[in-house]
Symmetry: C2
Subunit: 297 residues, 2 copies
C-alpha cells in the first residue's frame, strides 16, 4: 500500500499545514535535478480550518462534498465516495493561477508558467468538521472513519499526506489510526520543549490501543530563527528525544514562505529552489530527504 | 459579577496564551505610572497543552487536581472544589523565581526583585483534558461545565481570563458559554483572513444557542512583522470586520516575548515597560487599553 503520513503536532502554528502542503506538492511534481521522482500524492485535510484548500486558492464556498461528508458517509449520513470529494491537479492548477491574478492585479502578463501542479489530489475540509468531531465521540468506529473513507482508494496513490488540527482530539486520532507514518514539525520555541513529551505519549497510546503499525517518519524543525537562544535548545532536545529521525534540513523563518499563498501557491511551486529563494530551497531539500526515506521503506 | 474574558482563536500559534498570560499578569499587579488599577485576577487554562502553568515555571507533574478534575467534578467524577485546584500568587512567584534560576545557572545573584506576582490565581490544565473533551460530548450540560465550576467563586475575582486551545471544540465552547466577553488575538498572516469569518460565525452560533450575553471585548493584532505585506492587509481586514473593537496597540514580533518564559515569567513581569523593552511596553499598553474598556463596562 502507499506511504500514509500524518502530519501532527498539537502545538498551534508550528507549520503543520505549510509542511504538509509543500511536501505533498514537491513529492507530486518531483524534481529531476534533485533526483526526486514524481509520485501520485493524495493530500488530505483533517483540520476544520480548511487551510490546505486555501493555500491553493480554492474558494471553499465552491466546494462540493468535503471531508465532513466523507467522515459521516454511509454510517451517519448519506454515503459519499472519495472521488466525489477529490479536487484534482487541473482544478488545483486553475485555482492557483486565478489566485495569483487576484493577488497581483497590476501585473498584466499573468502567472508564471511554473504556477501549476500535476499528480496531486486534494481532499479538502471545511468548518463543520468541528461539529462532526464533537458528534463523532458517540459514533461506532469513531477512530476509524478516515481509514474507512480511504481504504478503497489507497491503491491509486503512492503517498498520502494528512494535515491535522492543533489538537489531540478525534480528528487527529483518526489521522494517527489511518496512517502508517507520523511526521512531526516542531517550531523552535519555548512550549515545544514540553510539547514533545506530550505528543510522544499520545502517539504511544495510539500504537498500543489502535495502530501498532504506526511509525515515526521524521521530525522537522520549522520556523527557526537565527538570533534566538531557543532554537538551539529545542534542536538539541529534539535530537535527544528522536535521534536520527530528525531531518537534517531545518526550515528557517522566512517572510517568503509566509507570503507564498499570496502567489496563490505553496512556496515549492511559487518559487524555484535556488540561492535567491532559500525558503523554497529548504522545503525542496526536505522533500529530497523525505523521498530518500520513502524509497527505503 | 466579574468581567469574564475568553481568549479565543481556532488558528494555532497566534499568541492566545501569550496574550492571556500577559494581560492577566498586568491587570493583576497594576501599574501606577500607567494608571492601571491592581485587580484580583483568575487565569483559567482550558487548553490540554497546559502552556499557562509552564509560562510561570510550574512543574505540571507536581500539580494537584487541575481543570480536568474540575470539569468532571461532581457530575462525572469525584467532586472537587475550585479552591483545591487554584495556584495562588505566592506559589506562582516561587515557581517563576525557581524557573529563572534554572534557566540562568551561571548568574549567582539570583532573580531580580521584579520577578514576582500578586493578586493572580491560576487554574491550570493538563493533557488528559484532551480525553475529558472527547468524553464530554455525551455528558449532561456538556457546554456548561466551566460555568458550573466557576459560579461559586466568581465573587472573589474582578477579572477572569480564560486561555483556550486552537479549536472550536467543546473546551472552547465551554469558555464561550462561561464568558461575557471574547478577546481575539489575530496574527498578521495569510490564514487569518478567512479565519476571522469562521470565528465570528462560531461566536454568533454560541450567542444564539447558548450565551446571548457574550460580547466582543476586543481584537488585538499580534506577532506583527514590519517587513511583511500581509500585516497591513490583515490589519485592514480586521478593522473592516471589527471597527473600533480592534485595539490601537498591535504587538510586534519580538524575540524577547518568545524568550520571556526562559526568564521564568511572562514578559510584563520579566521586563520593565520602557524603550529598551518594546515587547513588555507593548503588552503593558494593551493592558492599559483593556483596563480602560473594563472600567467602562
Ligand atoms: N518557515 C516559515 N517562515 C515564516 N513563516 C512561516 C514559516 N512556516 C510557516 N509560516 C507561516 O506561519 C503561520 C503558521 O504556519 P501553519 O499555518 O502552516 O502552521 P500550523 O501548524 O498548520 O498551524 P495550525 O496549528 O493553526 O494548524 C502561517 O502563516 C505560515 O504561512
Ligand atoms: N509578539 C511575539 N513575538 C515573538 N514571539 C511571540 C510573540 N507572541 C508570541 N510569541 C511566541 O510565539 C509562539 C506562539 O505563541 P502562543 O503559544 O502564545 O500562541 P497560541 O495562540 O496560544 O498557540 P496555540 O494555538 O498552540 O495555543 C510562542 O512560542 C510564543 O512565545
Ligand atoms: Mg494548520
Ligand atoms: Mg496557547
Amino acid at each position: 500500500g502507499p506511504v500514509v503520513i500524518a502530519v501532527v503536532n498539537h502545538k498551534g502554528g508550528c507549520a503543520k499545514t505549510t509542511t504538509a502542503v509543500n511536501l505533498a506538492a514537491a513529492l507530486a511534481v518531483g524534481n529531476e535535478e534533485l533526483g526526486i521522482d514524481a509520485r501520485r500524492v493524495l493530500l488530505v485535510d483533517l483540520d476544520p480550518k480548511g487551510n490546505v484548500a486555501t493555500t491553493f486558492g480554492i474558494d471553499k464556498k465552491s466546494l462540493g462534498p468535503t471531508m465532513n461528508e466523507l467522515f459521516k458517509g454511509g454510517v451517519d449520513g448519506a454515503p459519499v465516495t472519495l472521488n466525489e470529494c477529490l479536487i484534482g491537479p487541473d482544478i488545483l492548477t486553475e485555482a492557483m493561477r486565478e489566485s495569483w491574478k487576484l493577488h497581483n492585479p497590476k501585473r498584466k502578463r499573468g502567472p508564471p508558467k511554473g504556477i501549476s501542479i500535476e499528480n496531486l489530489w486534494l481532499l479538502p475540509a471545511d468548518l463543520d468538521l468541528s461539529g462532526v468531531e464533537i458528534d463523532l465521540a458517540t459514533r461506532i468506529g469513531r477512530e476509524n472513519r478516515l481509514k474507512l473513507a480511504l481504504q478503497d482508494s489507497l491503491g491509486h496513490f503512492d503517498v498520502v499526506i494528512v494535515d491535522t488540527p492543533a489538537s489531540l482530539g478525534l480528528l487527529t486520532i483518526n489521522a494517527l489510526a489511518a496512517a502508517n507514518w507520523v511526521l512531526i514539525p516542531i517550531q523552535a520555541e519555548f512550549y515545544a520543549l514540553e510539547g514533545m513529551g506530550q505528543l510522544m505519549n499520545a502517539i504511544r497510546d495510539v500504537q498500543k490501543a489502535i495502530n501498532p503499525n504506526l511509525r515515526l517518519f521524521g521530525i522537522v524543525l520549522t520556523m527557526v530563527q537565527t538570533n534566538s537562544n531557543l532554537g538551539e535548545t529545542v534542536a538539541e532536545r529534539a535530537r535527544k528525544h528522536f535521534g536520527d529521525r530528525v531531518f537534517d534540513t531545518a526550515i528557517q523563518r522566512s517572510v517568503a514562505i509566509a507570503e507564498a499563498p499570496l502567489e496563490g501557491a505553496p512556496i515549492v511551486i511559487a518559487k524555484k529552489p535556488n540561492k535567491s529563494n532559500p525558503g523554497s530551497k529548504a522545503y525542496w531539500e526536505l522533500a529530497k530527504e523525505a523521498d530518500a526515506r520513502i524509497v527505503r521503506i
